[in-house]
Structure formats: structure tokens, C-alpha cells
Symmetry: D2
Subunit: 405 residues, 4 copies
């Protein structure tokens, strides 16, 4: 079948996204890619930011668009990038998240155990590559950082990759948190390559500072918003509870056969290779439809959590710098057991604590290299009068508690 | 429980939406309102415009915001609006769409038969009113146009109501079709009241023209985009097929008990009063989860349609000014029967035709009154040198065919 | 002197404008081009729209940017454009307005008589071409529509040229009249070339309709806003009065020698070739500084007009569909003569009438060709169900009167 | 004369600015206020950012708009503000910059010596107050911080005043430096009053951090851009040179009588009270028209500088952390003397050095108080895990040199 030669897609964030290569068309048209349309990028953030209902598919198209621009800019600066490398990098970014399961990060390691989404992405890309007769070989080589031009990998997965640039831009756009906006177009124009590595030109320093501060703001204000935290932890508890009931021999029917497979699975580590086809059927709809059904489940723990998620009656959250007073926690726990008529051993579903940690910039793990006009290279935290100094390199830890009111 | 006094909600379209009345808080917190969070505003438009995943809840919050602004502007012009009327109008607009079922307009009259969504909205508002001890009485009076100040009703349902203003603004925002943008803020500033009726000041004429042209553009370019049309018609066919199979005695399990109730119902007209509780459980997730399951149904018609919707392999669409050549249609039909091995009587699910009609401005049904400085009132189509002339008042009809390739 | 290889310019309208050719650098750096920095794009529109202070230089950079995009889009569609043609078209658009005098259109034919700004542009381009050793030959050939690929000329001067697209976009941006916004990026993507002529693809029809409606709105709401009209006509009267006084032998010193030259010139037609060097020194600052000085001129007519312009005490304007009642006009005239103690023969500076004419779309003079998929070409006014119909092709005429209150 | 009751002004930054009080109308209509229309907000920044041609008038209207919103928000939080206080604060912010001379900060202390623009503002407000029969009494009391509610003064002149909020928003908007954008609307919503002082609610911390980082970015990237620095220093040198020549007895005619008065003035400190009427005639046009004339002045130093400014051939700038090598500076100086045939004593006009200093946040001078839910108040630099730490409180100093190439 003849593919269209060129297509433009409206994107409220960037205007238009252009697709002009048959391999890209084929990848996008594949059901495995289309599945991303049914996975929210920001899980339950829409409970606080009603606009944040954008999808993984939209994000990966956006990251692809930024990749197109980044490669164009680098070429304009004289960096050699062949047509094959261009295609490889574009396919790799399009598919970088194809291994995400329902509710993305929120459910990571809950539904599928012991396998990271990046690993699943790679497995799926390899399947597509086989179907497409090896046309994705170079994409795989870049995606796994085995290609001899590391900057291509760094554009996909690094401190200044187009993945982060898109999700920060897109998440701030759809949440309406305009303060999270980053100057992605200027950052792209400031990128350069030095000895094969991705760098930022000296005059881009302030844009990078702003990027890091925006990320910091988005983390605390949006991703870790108390109600968002509550909803996403409740989701985890729902699935854990469902699993526990199943182990106990109770019936907890998932809304689809595919979801049932993963729910019933008793292995410590999900045998993902065996279940890959089913995995590629899973999306937010299986999980949400199940939760809706479980509102009527006889187990009060399960039904309470599910009702709370559906009707937006979330567990109350406190977030503070110090651990919580144990006595107060115990009192709350007793209150809840009585209120719901449940055993103490089940109470941890309706009252639980945890820690959230975030570092504004970690110069050890992260590396944003600034290339100065005289050819020297410095990490952004080492630049004179840097905003991003040691103070910001130590992680900030906060303690949270979620509990039924 | 004490409600918060004041809350702001981030909205990418308008910046911030403010809620500052306990009754509004109560309405928004109600599960019946929260359900709108799980209904897409634009059904399957996101298959073409990936950003168009916003929800009915978001739309109704946006319309509420415009209502707040409109009432403020009118008051600034000396039009008297009491605090009770303000609250009534705000509640009425918040709840104007609460009776929408899954996939909104796309499924109207398919899942629920013989009852319009406005009627269901009214039924639900009445239930809420009972729960809230009559606090919504005035809202109901405005919503049903029985209140003695017709402009309040016209702000909710009229040619220049805040419902349209929001959905045009919001749909163009989320699709990224910037050309559909209307100057809602200027239109609001041009609104006035004359003898109890909503009017537009003379100097707002060009803004109204632009509003009508934007609506025209959105209709043909977005709402009636060929792929969107195809998907939404396929959705209808899926449900019709499911019903037919059920009538024939086959098993077609819906993903939820609530959906099953409506699927199995054999009445010509859905007994909505009887089923209202179940209706308030229905949303896009029930329907989508069912479709995902039905991809594996033994019936080739049902599974073909469901697979097509999920994997975005849509029926091909042609749209033209004349009816289609009957012979060509017959050939296509025969081809499809053979291809899928189905009976001719079942073929209408995979090949069907229809008509789409739209009028840019109908001065008979629609009425946009312009108030001139000298006190005279004219319909916008009667203004000198009007853009919106007779030519645009006759409906444009197009014929479409959807068929399996 | 080595030119920088590549430079990006921040533009609030388009983000970034890129310059990457030494000839473009040279043209932009030339004092004749830099002069455009000192000419307002919208003359006195900023008296009503305070943001509308953008310059001719900014507009021509913007039009250049759109030209870059348009050529790129056309190339992507397989239309052959050589590097030389690209450069020629870019230079031609950059310089298309270089012959504008102070206050652009407002003063056209007042300060410089009998020569159109396009002719002056051409003269200046030829001078630059000589200085640059013929590097602008092809630009001149395109600018004068002598090049064998007419679409290049049509991109500079036609119904859908990048000049209009930029000024509509830019003017609506800087005035804040968001309703004048056109979908320039989508229009650019819809452009194509058929038999050497610029056309619009069928699916771009709605965008073009919106473009014409936005232009119509900008004309009546902004360019012909009553206060803007008043200020710009007062400016003309100021210069006419200054000239008249000079002819009578009175001293009316211009703020610069260059301006004096043109003020004192008594020819019916300005000998522009002789005065070209001086012309290239003229800008809004010469005129405004003179007006500021003339506030203190002994002639009451001149000082009244100048004070009015500087202190924003504008002549009152009426705008209506019918000519003004002559008797009422006479009464006003008498009142003003008495008020200011001036002769009746001088009164026409402080009370004058005129006509403003605008056509939404003139299918005879204008030609926007739509290219259908089947290869047929139709003018947009001939398309089925066109918004742009005969009604809109007849000019709208309005009568105005400006007079001292 | 009857004033209109209500007027809306289009503003590309905020949409619409509303004026609805006769005193505000009178202030805006006054020639002293209208003069701000002829003073660029950002002096010569438009040489680098062509969109940055907005005016002081536009800025002060914008600040007025933010004041309207801020007062509204505070009232919604229960802070008492009377109608008189509201009017006073609005007038005070409208007029806060009315004492700015041509080219604002760039020429501060050059044309008018020994008087700060705030002092001139106050003098002018007092004149207006007299003309308006004391209606501005309360505005003056607030403006001079003598009113008993300090938060009103702090909204006009403090770390989070609406002046800064507007100029950062407006400057980033018109330059197109989107990274300078601050979330002014959210900051406004986070403001509160505690014991009469302006504070920020706890949850506004990240917005304030972003505000400070945006300011830092704007400072180094825009306000201190090398070419902007060069142009503005050249402007100072032009005026100093003109003065010196005048002192030597040479003729250096200003383009207006008002400018001449200030140029010829030989006092150490300008007797501003004596010259106030003339001051209120001065604007950018007097200065620019003079510079244009002086391009032809026989003095090579003056003409070189003037030509450079007009034709955008700026002195070259270097900016670095260490002082410049004296020997290299001497070599350059000698080269320039020879090149231009000027005395060494005149060379400092064409080669000069200086220092630029900026502090991201100075917790001693600046005070941004955060009000915590428990009622405690902390400076933003004292908050846990603050971005704005000690490191950022020490000023950053850079050395610059400007010299003729």
C-alpha cells in the first residue's frame, strides 16, 4: 500500500509536526505505537490540573518533532549527520516510551514487576524491527548507546534530551502551569557537539538555568502536588489489594483478559517475553474500567479505594520535612480500622507513609556540559556565579502520609 | 465539613478559573459531575488531532468561567444581577452537559434512545437539587428558560452562549487549529442586555462575524474531518452491531454491568428514569474497554470494526457535493462481502452512506441581535455590508460514504 | 570584514528569525535598510493601540522570515527553487519597503509627490546593487516581475504575499487585536505552484476565508479606527499647512536639513532621483521633532494641529454611510473660524471631509487561485458555498468628517 | 467636558486594560502623561531586539492594570481597601515614571544632573494635583510612603511591585525573550497582607524563585547585552561630547529649544524646578533628531558617535570577569587616535571601560517575605532548600570595554 509522502499533524504546543518518511509512517501506524494513545502522559495529574489529559502518543510525537529540529540545528552548525542517522534518531525517540504500561510511571513496577519500561521498549522495538526487515537496526544501535556518535543517544536520553524538553513543555502547556515553560527553541539553538558529545554553547547558560528551575518548579508544584501524589499512590494500593485478594483466592475480575493475565501472575518478576503480546494490549482503559467495576467489590478496602479514585474523594495527604509523629499515626490508624471495620493488617492500604526525593541538579549523575568559545568545557555547576551551585546538588527529601479522613 | 472558601484551578485556555461559593464546590465535588472527567469532549477527534483529549468536565468548568466574566461585564454596564441570579446562572452552566453519555454527541441516541442529553441533564440537576435542599431551584428556573430575565438563559443556550464560546475556544486550543480561535474576551465585553434580551453592541459586529466564520471553519475542518467522521460512525456501528448480536441471542459482554444494562435493553425508548443511577456510572471507559474486548469477538463484523477503532485503521471516507454512484457502491459492497466472508445483510456495517449538513448562519433559527447606539436592533444578517448574508443562510449539504478498503 | 556566518534574531511574533547568508547580512547592515528602524509600521495607530509601535524594519524582517518558510515548504513539495532564486526572493522581500518615507502610507504623496514608494524602493535597490557589484540582479528581476517564475514575484506582491501575511500577523500582534490573527503557518503549508503561478491547495480554502475576514476586520476596526484616521489626516494637514506657509514666505523650519529640502521643494513632482540621498536620511524623527517645534509656531492653524497631535487632542471624527449634511457642516465651519480667529479659507485644515473605501475581496483585481486535487483551478469567490461571494466584492464606502471640537 | 464612563484599551500583553474612573481619564489625557508615549521603555534595546520599541506610557498603563488586579485579589482575601485608597494607588502607579526623561535610565543623570527621576515624578504629580484641586492627595501620600498602609506603597515600589512585574513581563514580551516571562498572574494571586506589609503566601515560593531567575536572565541576556550596552554608552558619550563642545564655545544646535536649554545649562545640578515646563516637553524625539543632525557636525568625535548610533555601527564591546590588560588598552587607544586623527584627550569618547554589577537577590536591601500557614514570616532566602541562597546574594561584577573597531 502506498504511504502518503508527507503529512502534517496539528500540535497545540509546536504548531505543526511534519512526517515525511515511509518508515516513520509505518512505525506510527503500528498498533503497538497507537496503544500509546490510550495511556495518559501524566496519570492522575488531571484530577488537579483538568487539562493534563494528554497522552504518551502525543508526547512521543512532540519529542520526535524536537528531534527533527535539533538535528536540523546541529547540521546548520556543520555537524555531520547522515540521512540514515537522522532516521535512526527519529525512530528511536518516537519509540523511546513504547514500553510504558498503563498509567506510566505511577504503576511502574506494580503491574509489571522487575522489568523497567526501557527494557520493554527495546523488546518491542526489536519486534517491530523484525517486522520491518531490519530497517530499525540503526535506531536500536542509537537507542542502546552503541552507536559511535554518542550525541545521538544523548539527544534521546541525557540531561538535555528532547524527551525531557518535550515533557516539560507539554506538561506545563496542558496543565496551564505557565511557569514551567522552558525555552525549548532557544535551548535547541544553543546545542552543539564537541568530540562527539552533546554540549551547550556558552551563551545558552541562562536558558539552561531556567530549564533546571522550571523542572524544579514542576516537580514540587505539579508532579508532587499533594492530590496527585494521593491519587497515584491510591492506584498502586488498588492493584496491590487486588493482587492480595486474588492470592487469597478471592475473585477480582479485571475488565480485560490481558489485564487479568498480569493481575493473576504470581511470579516475583513478570515473564515479560512470554507476555509481550498481551502487554501490548494493556492501557489505561483496562485499569480504569476495572477500578470502576471494583467500586462494587465486596472487599471494603478495595471498594473504598476505587470509589475514592473514581469520585475524586482522595486520601488526605500531609507533606513535611520531618518524619511523622508515630503516636499520631497510630491514632489515625486505629480510627480508620474502626471506621471501616477492617483488620489492622489491612489498614496500610488506607494509611501509609513514604518519602519523596528530588535534586535540582546533581552534577555527579547529571552532566550538562557548557562549551566555551575558547574550547574549554565545564559542567554548568562549575561555571562562574552559577545559579546551580552545591546547595542545589543535595537532594531534598520530604515525608508524606496519605490517610483516610 | 467546611469547604475551602476559595480555590483557583489552572486552565491552559484562560489561565485561572476561580471557585468561591460553597454551592459551586458541592456541585463540582459530586460524583455525577466528576463523571464528566471521563467523557471526552470531542469523542474520537484525537485520532486526527492528538491534543483533542480534553474532557466534558474541563469544558463545563471553562463555560462556567466565561459565565463569571460575562456576568461581571454586564454588571459593569449597569445591568442588575442579584447574587442569587449569579449563582443560579453559574450552576446552570456548570451542569448544562451533565446529561451527556459516553462519547457525547457521537453516541447520542445510540446507547440511550429517544431521550436528549438536555433532558437527562435536567433530570440529574433535579436530583442534585433534592440532595442540596432546593439550593438549585433558581438554576433550574434559568436552565429551563422559565426565569423572567431571558438573557440569563440566553447566556447558557443561545447563539452567543458561553457554552459555544468555550467549546470553540477550547476545541481550537486543544486541537491546535489556531484558526478556530475566537475573540471570546472581546465578545464578552461587547455583550449587553436590551429589554431583557442578550444583545451585542454595534462595535462588536466584526467580532461576531469572526466568531461565525471560525465556527464554520471548525465544523468543516475539524468536527467533520473525514477520519473523525469515519471513527465516530464506526463507533455507532459497533454499538448497533453489538445490540443486533445480543438480540440474536449471542453473548456480547460489556465491560461493566452498567453498560450491559443499556446494551441489553430492548425498549424502543430507554426508560431513563428507571436507569438514571446506572446512567450516572457510564463513561468513555466502559465503552472503550468493551470495544477492546470485542476485538476478539467471533463475529467478524464486530471484531473488524473494533480492531479498526483501536488500531486506528479506519474505514475510508469520501465526502462530496453529489450522491454517490449506485453502481460503484454496489461493487464496493460485493468486494467487502467477499473479503470478509459476510452476508450482504451485514455489509451495511462496513459500507454505509450519509449526509452532513451545516449552515453558517441561519437568521431564522439563530438570532444574533445587534444593538445600535441609537437604540435600534437588527439581526446581524441585516446589518449594512454584512459578511453574513443570505448566501450563507442556506444549508450546505455533503454526502459521505464510509467503506472498508 | 568577515561577516558572522549565522545569526538569530528574537521576534515576539515568530520566535526566531535566522540570517545565514553574507548578502543578507550586508543588506541588513546598510544604513538605507537601518533607516526603516525609525519608521513606524502603523504611523499613529499607537494613539489608540499603544502597543502598535513596531517598525518597518521589523515588518520587513518578518516578511523575510515568512519568505524563508514559504520557499522551504514549496521545495518540500517538489517545486524547484535554486539557491540563487532563494537569495533573490529573500533580498527582494527584505527591501520591498525600503522606499517608504516617514509615517509610511499616512504621508504617501504628501512629502514626496508624484512618486510611489515602490518606485523609490526600486531606485534604492539599484543603488545597493551597484555598491554590491550586481549581487542583487536577480532580486531586482523578481521584484519587477520580470523573472520567468512568476510565483516568486507573487510571494512578494500578490493576494497571498508574505508582505500581507506578515503585516496582518504583526499588526494584530502588536495592537493586541487578537481577532486579526491569521493562520499564516497553515496558509504557508497550503501554498503550491501550478504552471508557474502561486496557488492554494483545496484544503486551504477555510484558512484563506479566515485570512480575508481577518483583513476586513483589521481594516475597519484598526486601520480605519476613528482616532487613527483623525491623527493621520491631521498629520497630512500639518505638512500641507507648513508648505503653504512656506510658499507664502513664512519661516517654518524643519527639524533637519533633509526634511527642509522636501518641505521647501516647490515642484509638482518631487525630483526624487536628485534628492535620493536626502530621502534616505528622512524618518519619523524628522517629522515628529518638527511637529513638536511647530507647536510654538505663530500660525494658529499649524500650532493647533501640532499641539493636537502631540498632546493627543485629536479632531473629532464622524464616520457614516451617507454624505454629511451640508448645512451642519457649514455651521461647524463657522464655529471653528470664530473659535480660532482664522479666515474661512484656512478653515479646511480644522474641518474636512473625505471617503474611505474598502473591498473585502475583489475577484477582478485580486486573484486567489485554488488548485483542486483534480487539477482544476478556481478563484476563491467561485468555489461552491463560498463565504467570499459577490456581496463582498462590491466596495464599501464610508464618509468621514474631522473637525475641531 | 463629559468624560466617557468606561474605556477598554487593547494590550497585547494582558488582553484588555479597563479605565473606569474620571480621575484616571484626566491623568491619562494630560500632556505630561502623554509625553511618556514618546519615550522608549528600553532605550536602544531595539537595536538587538527589534520588537523592543514599546513605550513608558504602555508600561505605566500595564503596571496600572496589574495594580487593578492586585487590589482586587487582596480584597477577595478580605483585606480592606477603600475606594479612595484604590484610586490613590492606581494614580500613583500610573504616574510613577512620569519624571523619566528621554531614553529613561540610559540618560539618567546625563541630561538632567543631580536629580533622580523619582523626584521629578513627584514634582510633576504635585503640579497635576494642583490642577486637579487636590484629587491626587492620597496618591501622593502613598507614592511617598507616608500613608499608614505600607502595602500600598510596596505594590508601587518594592521587591514585588507591579512596576517590576509589568516591565519584566512587557520587556520579555516585546523582545521575544520568552524565557524572561514571569507568572505575574499567579504571583498576584499569591500576594497577601500581614500586619500591613505585603507578603507572599507559602505556596507562591516557586513562582517567586522563577521571578528572580527570570530577572537575572533578563539582566544579563537583554539589559546588559553587549550591543545594547554599547549603544547606550555611546548615547551618553554623544551628550557629554556635545556639552563639552558647547563649553568650548562651539555651536552644537539641539533639534528643539527645550533640549537646547538642558544642553547649554552649565550648572552642576540642573535647576529642575525652574526648568520643569521645558522638561515636560523633552522626549526621545528631541534627542534622536539632534543626533541625526550631528552626524554632519564638523567634530569627528561627535559625528563618529552619532553616525554609529544611527547606522547601527556600534563600538565593539568586551565583557569579562577581570579588568582589562592596560597595555592592550593603550595600544587600542593609540590606534584609534591615529585612525580618527584626534587628540589623546578626546579618545575617551571612543574607547572607555566600566563595570556592570548585578545581584540576583540581595536579602539585605531586598525583602521578599513569605507568610507561612502557621503565621510565621521568613525572607525567601531563609526558606528551607531555597534556590535563592547566599551564593546568589553577593553581587556579580563584570568589566566592560567599548572601543572603535
Amino acid at each position: 500500500m502506498a504511504q502518503p509522502v508527507r503529512k502534517i499533524i496539528n500540535d497545540p504546543v509546536y504548531g505543526f509536526i511534519t512526517i515525511d518518511h515511509p518508515v516513520i509512517f509505518q512505525v506510527i501506524a503500528h498498533p503497538y505505537y497507537q496503544r500509546l494513545r490510550r495511556i495518559h502522559q501524566m496519570a492522575f495529574a488531571h484530577l488537579v490540573y483538568p487539562g493534563a489529559v494528554h497522552t504518551r502518543l502525543h508526547h512521543s510525537l512532540g519529542a520526535y518533532h524536537l528531534m527533527c529540529n535539533a538535528l536540523q540545528e546541529l547540521r546548520n552548525k556543520g555537524i555531520e549527520i547522515s540521512a540514515e542517522e537522522e532516521l535512526g534518531a527519529k525512530v528511536a525517540i518516537l519509540l523511546h516510551d513504547v514500553g510504558h504500561g498503563p498509567f506510566s510511571h505511577a504503576l511502574e513496577n506494580v503491574l509489571i514487576k522487575g522489568v523497567k519500561h526501557e527494557d520493554i521498549s527495546l523488546r518491542i522495538i526489536r519486534i517491530l524491527n523484525k517486522e520491518m526487515n531490519g530497517q530499525l537496526d540503526l535506531a536500536i544501535s542509537i537507542f542502546t548507546n552503541q552507536y559511535h556518535k554518542p550525541f545521538l543517544y544523548q539527544l534521546i536520553s541525557g540531561q538535555l534530551d528532547v524527551d525531557r524538553m518535550d515533557y516539560l513543555s507539554r506538561d506545563s502547556f496542558f496543565t496551564g502551569v505557565s511557569e514551567g515553560v522552558i525555552g525549548y527553541d532557544r535551548i535547541l539553538k544553543m546545542l552543539t557537539v564537541h568530540e562527539g558529545e552533546l554540549m551547550v554553547e556558552e551563551k545558552g547558560i541562562f536558558s539552561i538555568e531556567k530549564f533546571l528551575v522550571a523542572r524544579r518548579l514542576m516537580y514540587w508544584q505539579v508532579y508532587l502536588h499533594k492530590a496527585v501524589l494521593s491519587a497515584e499512590k491510591m492506584l498502586v494500593k488498588v492493584l496491590e489489594r487486588a493482587r492480595e485478594l486474588i492470592l487469597r483466592g478471592e475473585t477480582v475480575p479485571g475488565a480485560s483478559a490481558a489485564l487479568d493475565l498480569f493481575l493473576q501472575s504470581k511470579e516475583e518478576e513478570t515473564p515479560i517475553d512470554k507476555y509481550l503480546t498481551e502487554f501490548c494490549l494493556l492501557d489505561d482503559f483496562d485499569v480504569m474500567a476495572s477500578i470502576k467495576n471494583w467500586m462494587f467489590h465486596p472487599d471494603p478496602v478495595l471498594s473504598t479505594l476505587c470509589e475514592g479514585l473514581i469520585d475524586r474523594r482522595l486520601l488526605k495527604v500531609k507533606l513535611q520535612a520531618e518524619p511523622f509523629d508515630q503516636q499520631w499515626v497510630t491514632e489515625q490508624r486505629n480510627r480508620i480500622c474502626q471506621l471501616k471495620g477492617i483488620q489492622e493488617e489491612d489498614c496500610h492500604y488506607l494509611l501509609f507513609t513514604g518519602e519523596a526525593v528530588n535534586t535540582t541538579y546533581n552534577p555527579v549523575e547529571e552532566k550538562i556540559n557548557i562549551l566555551f568559545k575558547d574550547g574549554t568545557v565545564k559542567d554548568i555547576s562549575q561555571v562562574d556565579n552559577a545559579l546551580i551551585s552545591q546547595t542545589l546538588s543535595s537532594p531534598v527529601k520530604k515525608y508524606y502520609i496519605c490517610y483516610l479522613k
